[in-house]
Subunit: 87 residues, 2 copies
């Protein structure tokens, strides 16, 4: 299974992009999980930045967003998961 | 060129998804443009919903996010563009 990187609204997109590129190099795919608009925005920026990191290796990175349910402090929340992989 | 659908933080993801599916049916690809975290979040939700709309037609929809500059009221803003197409 792909590794899941949790992104928050405080996450630095460039730092997430570095982590994402590392997971992609090892596993060929990765997942980002974000809860809330601020976190989703940082995740999207990270994916755009990562595209630039891996493009020189001939990798055309794509994202597949999906809804998922997660439990946080006993409460069910809707999160966005991005499956990130080479096209 | 693909049609560009502008998404705002007030956009209803399901309505955007309907418009997106219509553009995809006609052109095979589409672009969403969003400025700000709220708008990006609605755009991502719309893409996830649209995946469900087109999946029964055997289409595995993917998104490619990219930064772009747009001018609004004479000010330069950074927007996110999502290229949306079948894999």
């Amino acid at each position: 299974m792909a590794e899941v990187l949790k992104v928050s609204s405080d996450s630095k997109p460039k730092a997430v992009a570095g982590a994402l590129a590392a997971v992609l190099r090892e596993h060929g795919r990765a997942e980002l999980q974000a809860i809330g608009a601020g976190a989703v925005n940082q995740a999207v920026k990270a994916i755009a930045i990562t595209r630039g990191f891996v493009a020189p290796n001939g990798i055309d990175l794509i994202a597949i967003p999906a809804f998922t349910k997660v439990e946080i402090d006993g409460e069910e929340r809707t999160a966005i998961r991005f499956l990130v992989q080479a096209r």
